[in-house]
Symmetry: C2
Subunit: 454 residues, 2 copies
């Protein structure tokens, strides 16, 4: 059977079927540190929609599980392909099919890297707003599959707000086109939104019609504010939100993450429990907004530094961007992704401090403070997540839910968070979601075990 | 059987069950002019979630169809209750449960009128952006059920962009809470979006967590530009869109609609085929934006009039707001709702001119020109839509689809457009949607015949 599936794939797809050890090894893992058990049957490098359809037809006929995969930058194990799976890579389907400045839309293949798309769009004075921290390496299809967020979401929205339609190959290989090209459209149920964040469990996204924005005019402004501890920084962020001035970016780094970044960049160590807010304003009122925010943060006992120019602003933001490499130097990192209502940010940081104490861990944490999305980093040695980390993570999730938040703001459920899914959804909603999955995938070949446990 | 359903309702809900002739007559129709055949069994005026659950439990046990209803301002016949139905009115569930300026959210019951909510929000410096033309009389729950749009959508989004979560009573009476209170959240499938625009076919929305904006600061600016004909006005609108300056409102009235409004307001008749664009700009760059747009429109051969102050601006907008009363004076009106990519607006107006000629009709048309959503008005005498109007509407829908557009931008499918649903969705997507409907409503008691034909 195993041999025959690969034979069928080779017959249909020729050398786009890859069974080299390096390819099979590469698709086992994503950036979460988690790796699937065993080896996939093959990696198929799809180059066109018909390739995807051919794979699904074979998978459907043989009952073989398929794991769709973009750049493999996910953080929840949702694209990891192990024993018995076909890994279906969309990375080569990376063309921009259409850019329409007059309609503010682009039609793209799923494998295009977010930053590559935006480089091209910029030539037309346009951009696609979703900006996950991985945008230099993650694909638009992956951004859609996870419902990615990023730094700019409070002001410019998430992926769900920036997709007009998706073309999807269904479990049996049929192609459907969901959504529309117009700003408005309410014909039937909103299956486009249903597909966003579905993590490969409902179909394979082979094309997307994206809602664009015009590039924001004028010079962005950047400032940082350092605080005595993370509680004070979180309170500063809450004060900015309450002031009504809308930053484009507002990032918070706690003492442990700031210290790690300083070490990576060979900067002098921060003092005590120093924590940092990094704020960017943009648009026609960028300068005024930055001045107002600076005042709010000074009133909240922050030490404010306003960047004099773009270069200095970029240097300040570089600190935040260095967080992931800084974590990698400390060990294996499980990056969590809870999200809470903005006003609950200080309370959520209190919970993290408590969890650090209760479990004897250090949990360097950064937050998209403008939208209440926190990334606590559990750092450990070796390939296996220690049990104490899972117990602390469990406590973390339950704390977020208690505060009116969610398990995952932007990374998705994947395999790493599925055991908490029912806690957030409730039994009945979980059943509805699983039944919808069955409508799309009655035989269970689409990314089985992801989101919904086997 | 019929008697026993009403008996069961009365037993559970007492005098909230209304079987007066006037109530049964009122729920037969909405603002579309369409009325359901026969009479509902009863109208239930739900006052709390438990009432809705009681109705659904009885409906589930007895296999009785339920038609949820807000203010009855729909334009597609989606809330019309006839023979054998229970009309479930949410109008009395009209409380605001929570307003959180710090989290930019409000939690409301579904029956609150959009304008009433916004009046209260304004006291906190906040607003809920969806602004259907019916906002003075339509409910938030109805706005959600239809996925309503409005005038401000190109700049400020549609309902889908402004709802974080919904509480829904399912077909068997169980309550589920969908969505989240945080800006970000990707836990499982996006059932909140699935519920938006589902027109009562998946469940009954009994609560909503709304995403708010802060009131836009500063003075809005208003201008009109009159053109020799509708083609020229549409080209003017396209030029504004292409210029990159984003109006808050950009409404187009063709010659027939403008003439009807002038007659209603006792103004001198417009000359020839004169058509009008009405544009509002807002925010910190409102004055500059208005000046730029005025220049673009003059370059496009428009005669521009810039309002000197707020009162004059309001008077200009009043012209557009008088369209529906003006149509009502002409006869019974079937208001259509096609939406096309913005660049296709002039081509869509060409199609309407052709359809007028081919079918010997006058079709006064207004358009939300900033987002490509057109409302052609078919005016006729008497209660029944004449066959020629349906044939012309059929041509209209097919033209919109050919131009990359949709059947309905913001009114929904209801009963009036369901026969074209499959043309837009394709057979397979239509089946997927119907199967999802069955997941939520296996026995088919939720608004049967709406969206999906019996």
């Amino acid at each position: 059977m195993t041999a025959s599936v690969v034979d069928l794939l080779r017959e249909a797809l020729g050398d786009r079927v890859d069974t080299t050890e390096s390819a099979l090894e590469a698709v086992r893992a994503d950036k979460s540190g988690h790796a699937a058990r065993g080896r996939a049957l093959a990696v198929v490098h799809a180059e066109r929609i018909e390739d995807v359809q051919a794979v699904l037809r074979i998978a459907h006929a043989t009952g073989t599980p398929v794991v769709p995969r973009g750049a493999g930058t996910g953080l929840a194990g949702g694209a990891n392909a192990g024993d018995g799976r076909i890994a279906l890579s969309l990375a080569r389907m990376n063309r921009i099919l259409e850019i329409r400045p007059d309609d503010l839309l682009a039609v793209v293949e799923p494998g295009i890297v977010n930053a590559d798309l935006n480089a091209e769009l910029a030539r037309h004075g346009l951009w696609w707003a979703p900006d996950p921290a991985s945008r230099a390496i993650s694909t638009v299809g992956g951004n859609i599959a996870t419902g990615a967020g990023g730094l700019l979401c409070a002001k410019y929205g998430v992926v769900r707000d920036a997709v007009l339609g998706v073309d999807v190959v269904l479990a049996d290989g049929e192609l459907v086109r969901l959504g529309h090209r117009s700003v408005k459209g309410v014909t039937g149920l909103d299956l486009t939104s249903l597909m966003i964040g579905s993590e490969g469990t409902l179909g394979v996204v082979v094309g997307a019609t994206l809602k664009l924005r015009r590039l924001v005019a004028g010079q962005a402004r950047m400032l940082t504010a350092s605080f005595a501890d993370v509680r004070a920084a979180a309170a500063g962020a809450a004060a900015v939100t309450a002031s009504g001035v809308q930053p484009a970016i507002m990032e918070l780094m706690d003492a442990a993450s700031l210290a790690a970044v300083h070490a990576l960049l060979s900067l002098p160590a921060p003092t005590g429990r120093e924590s940092l807010l990094t704020v960017q304003t943009d648009g026609p009122t960028a300068a005024d907004d930055a001045a107002q925010i600076a005042q709010v943060l000074e009133d909240a006992a922050g030490r404010v530094r306003l960047a004099a120019d773009e270069a200095e602003g970029e240097a300040l933001l570089q600190m935040r961007r260095s967080l992931h490499p800084a974590m990698e130097r400390l060990g294996t990192t499980l990056i969590e992704d809870v999200s809470v209502p903005r006003s609950a940010l200080p309370a959520m940081f209190d919970e993290i401090v408590r969890i650090e104490r209760d479990y004897g861990l250090t949990i360097p944490t950064v937050a998209h403070a403008g939208d209440g999305n926190l990334h606590p980093n559990f750092v450990f040695r070796g390939p296996e997540v220690p049990d104490v980390v899972w117990r602390a993570a469990d406590d973390l999730f339950r704390s977020a839910l208690r505060l009116g938040g969610t398990l995952t703001g932007e990374h998705g459920i994947g395999v790493l968070k599925r055991r908490w899914l029912r806690d957030e959804l409730g039994a009945r909603q979980w059943e509805l979601q699983r039944d919808i999955k069955r409508v799309f995938d009655p035989t269970g070949i689409l990314n089985p075990g992801v989101v919904f446990a086997d």
